[in-house]
């Protein structure tokens, strides 16, 4: 009979679709290594890792929001705002060598979390569509970042030790065991996120809310609180990214983070998380972030024009979403077919 063959074929296709991010990453790494001799060098990989760390941290936060059935467009603006808040505080000066830097970072993260809280309240309490709510905060946060300096850059943040700014550069520029600190931060955040998603009640509630909000509510899950927390965490991740960038550049630009939200969403979808919510993983998003990072970095290395890079990135996003749809359809078709035989097995 051809039916088992056919379903085995479908299962294989499904597995390949699920592993698509890993496959694409492997292909990219091999291709760029061949095309550019300087791609696989310690120096380049270190730069690459720093880039990837930034999009991976954003993607981890975004994954929780998307898993719970939402979306957060404001992350890029929040990153910009966090950098500007810290930059402003360091320029004004609020403490000594380290206390100043720590306070600036803490306050910037608090401001980021506040934006997340606003997103969460709009979505969960006022039932504003996530796309619209976070589109609004995208503009609000960006406008606030511009207002802080009247559109100007806060420069030379690492100049004066007395204002704490030399401490500030540690965040983005220091190395631990030869690996950049932002990469360690990415690893730590990803590890915690994986455990939270897989092992804690909260993680399970996130999947439940994204899978079937009504059923989750009827099961007694506090749907509103779950959504609120996902947006807060996502904004915190975005704020941290903004701080890392400001620390690396030793200056804060109000335009930092523009279109980061698209990178983050693309990474999440590439990693196999459904935009409809309820299905996906943190690990997948990390790999997705690697794909995007390697793609951007590699295209520069092999000398593809800046404009073509943008076109290619857009193509990747479109393909990712299309593949996501194909996977969903294939899965539901496969679920429809064996459910009958499943019933037979149970009865026998």
């Amino acid at each position: 009979m051809s039916v088992p063959n056919q379903s085995r074929f479908a299962a294989t296709v499904l597995l390949l679709l699920k592993l698509r991010a890993v496959l694409v990453l492997a292909i990219l790494l091999v291709a760029f290594s061949i095309l550019s001799p300087s791609f696989l060098t310690v120096n380049n990989l270190s730069i690459l890792a720093k880039h990837v760390a930034i999009s991976a941290i954003l993607a981890v936060g975004m994954t929780f929001v998307i898993l719970a059935g939402g979306i957060d467009l404001s992350v890029g603006s929040v990153a910009g705002l966090a950098g500007m808040v810290a930059g402003g505080l360091l320029t004004v000066g609020i403490g000594g060598h380290t206390t100043g830097a720590v306070a600036a970072i803490a306050i910037a993260l608090l401001v980021s979390a506040a934006v997340g809280l606003l997103n969460g309240l709009l979505v969960s309490q006022l039932a504003v569509a996530p796309f619209i709510a976070t589109l609004g905060t995208l503009y609000i946060a960006r406008g606030a970042a511009l207002l802080l300096s009247q559109g100007k850059t806060f420069p030379n943040l690492a100049e004066t030790a007395t204002r704490g700014s030399t401490g500030f550069s540690i965040l983005g520029q220091s190395f631990v065991l030869g690996v950049p600190l932002p990469v360690w931060l990415m690893v730590a955040i990803a590890a915690v996120a994986v455990v939270v998603a897989k092992r804690t009640p909260f993680g399970r509630h996130v999947y439940a809310v994204g899978g079937n909000e009504r059923a989750a509510r009827l099961a007694g899950i506090r749907v509103e609180r779950v959504k609120l927390l996902t947006y807060c965490f996502c904004s915190l991740c975005a704020g941290l990214v903004g701080l890392i960038i400001a620390s690396q550049l030793e200056s804060a630009h109000p335009a930092t983070g523009e279109t980061f939200e698209l990178n983050a969403i693309a990474a999440v979808v590439l990693g196999g998380t459904s935009l409809m919510g309820g299905r996906g993983s943190i690990g997948g998003s990390i790999i997705g972030a690697f794909v995007i990072g390697v793609l951007a970095d590699g295209l520069v290395m092999i000398g593809v024009s800046e404009f073509w890079q943008i076109v290619i990135k857009g193509g990747v996003i479109v393909i990712a979403v299309t593949v996501d749809q194909m996977q969903t359809r294939l899965q539901s078709r496969m679920a429809a077919a064996p459910s009958h035989t499943g019933g037979l097995r149970e009865a026998v």
Partner: protein, 514 residues
């Protein structure tokens, strides 16, 4: 009055004078309902009688407009399903609220996860205890299997297991057998018997009289949001229930209105060898159907029999894999809703809220939705022509509204259904398909809709409707086809159909179930 076997008046949960209003319509009026420990408390009523509303109040999903809910001598203030769970009240919803993307253990413990070292979910303990609960329910299933892959019967068992592990004292089952095969129902009844022995109070909602009489210890009948009868096992029989359930005899006159004038008409709609996606799961040959002009054909079947899929395929909503549709002898291709409408086939969908109405539009906007184009000249909608035609159709359908420009959501369920009907009629279809034509419609409006459909059929309109209510099939149809697991298994003329014969035909055979 006291029956010692079922604990007499050992009331565990009680609604006292509960009223629930949605806008202007009262779904429940001063309802006092007592739930006894260790007994099956049956709640009976027609669609729209308020059964599900009462259950949503008892389960904390909604709050009463007025009145009180008492449990074990204490008044309960329930604001959410969490509060109900805390009061040991569990509910299995009619449309089964399982989390399809999670596995069985995760479903059973959703919202009340077992923990180890405070922070983490104890998956091992969940799987062990979940498996134990399912064994008690005589359904040992794999805890790691995704809930979305389960049959409806097994999903239901998983939901019952949910309430078991949290030690529910009151278990509400809302139409639990509406989607189950005969074998699955039988095993559910065994579970109910077990739970009863353990002192769990079961609230059982259904409109299948045989089941109710077999299972029930206490009976409460609701009609139009009021309690109209209470009785205990032994003092209640079929007639007692039917008399109270149906109340005024609105159905009689429609039966008289039946005509056989179509008998000489030629068959208008012919469907042969139709197979379409999911509906064709077990139908090897595909479905055949012939309907004469002016005839009303009812398709009766249980949930999941393929009723909706069949109608959707003819209406162009679902891809037809093989087979053909002929209208007036001419083969038509229905690859989209537009094709079907152009050919003269219109569908009134089952779920009015989801598929039928645009809540943001006015009543008249909803009515003219699929025919706006016909009022347009050079791309401009001529409002006056539109308004005149809407008025006319609304009058024909007896839509009772002060102003057709009001939002459609201000109407009652019955009037909303008439709006969807009116929209279909505005296209002057030759064939009208209706999926559950009176779902969520109160008794009075039901009779009006039946009367209107009957009148339309006398005027030559061909009507095919799908229903899960035996009563509806018998009252409205000239001819009834029974659909079971994707095949037409029996056909009855109006005069031959009996409840028992229809129901027996609709239940999947045991061989098919396993």
């Amino acid at each position: 009055m006291n029956d010692p076997r079922v604990g007499g008046d050992d009331v565990v949960l009680e609604s006292r004078g509960v009223t629930k209003r949605y806008g202007a319509t009262a779904a429940l009026e001063n309802v006092t309902f007592r739930v006894r420990r260790g007994a099956v408390n049956v709640l009976i009523g027609e669609n729209g009688a308020g059964k599900s509303t009462l259950m949503r109040l008892l389960a904390g999903v909604e709050q009463p407009t007025s009145g009180e809910i008492w449990k074990d001598g204490r008044q309960l203030q329930m604001r959410s399903p969490r509060d109900a769970a805390a009061a040991s009240i569990a509910i299995v919803h009619q449309d089964l609220a399982v989390l399809e993307n999670l596995n069985l253990a995760e479903n059973i413990f959703a919202g009340r996860e077992l923990l180890q070292s405070v922070l983490f979910v104890d998956r091992h303990a969940e799987e062990t205890r979940g498996a134990a609960a399912l064994r008690e329910l005589r359904k040992p299933l794999d805890m790691r299997c995704a809930a979305g892959d389960l049959s409806l019967g097994n999903r239901q068992v998983v939901e019952v297991a949910r309430s078991l592990v949290c030690g529910a004292q009151v278990l509400i089952l809302d139409e639990p057998t509406s989607a189950l095969s005969a074998a699955e129902s039988a095993s559910l009844f065994r579970v109910i018997e077990d739970l009863k022995q353990r002192g769990v109070a079961i609230v059982y909602i259904s409109h299948r009289l045989n089941e109710l009489l077999h299972l029930g210890d206490f009976f409460t009948v609701l009609r139009d949001g009021c309690v109209v009868g209470e009785g205990i096992r032994g003092s209640v029989d079929r007639r007692w229930i039917v008399e109270r359930m149906s109340g005024r005899d609105t159905d009689g006159e429609i039966i008289d209105g039946s005509s056989a004038a179509f008998a000489n008409n030629r068959s208008l709609l012919e469907v042969s060898g139709l197979r379409s996606g999911l509906a064709g799961q077990s139908a090897k040959e595909g479905l055949n159907l012939q309907v004469r002009a002016g005839e009303i054909v009812g398709i009766y079947g249980l949930l999941g029999a393929g009723r909706t899929e069949f109608l959707e395929a003819i209406a162009g909503l679902r891809r037809i894999d093989s087979g053909e549709v002929r209208l007036g002898g001419k083969r038509i291709s229905v690859r989209s809703v537009g094709d079907a409408l152009a050919a003269g086939i219109a569908l009134v969908p089952e779920d009015r809220q989801r598929d039928g109405l645009v809540p943001e539009l006015s009543i008249s906007g909803n009515i003219s939705l699929s025919s706006v184009g016909s009022f347009a000249r050079c791309g401009w909608v001529r409002r006056s022509a539109e308004a005149a035609r809407v008025q006319e159709v609304a009058g024909q359908m007896q839509i009772t509204a002060h102003d057709l420009e009001l939002p459609v959501t201000t109407l009652s369920g019955g009037n909303q259904q008439k709006v969807v009907l009116a929209r279909c009629l505005m296209r002057n279809p030759r064939v009208l398909l209706l999926d559950e034509p009176t779902r969520g419609v109160d008794v009075g409006a039901k009779a009006e809709i039946y009367r209107t459909l009957r009148a339309l059929a006398s005027g030559g309109l061909t009507i095919v409707f799908a229903t899960s209510e035996i009563e509806e099939a018998r009252v409205l149809a000239d001819r009834i086809l029974v659909l079971t697991q994707g095949s037409f298994v029996a056909e009855f003329l109006r005069s031959e159909a009996t409840d028992a014969a229809l129901f027996a035909a609709a239940c999947p055979t045991l061989e098919a179930a396993g």
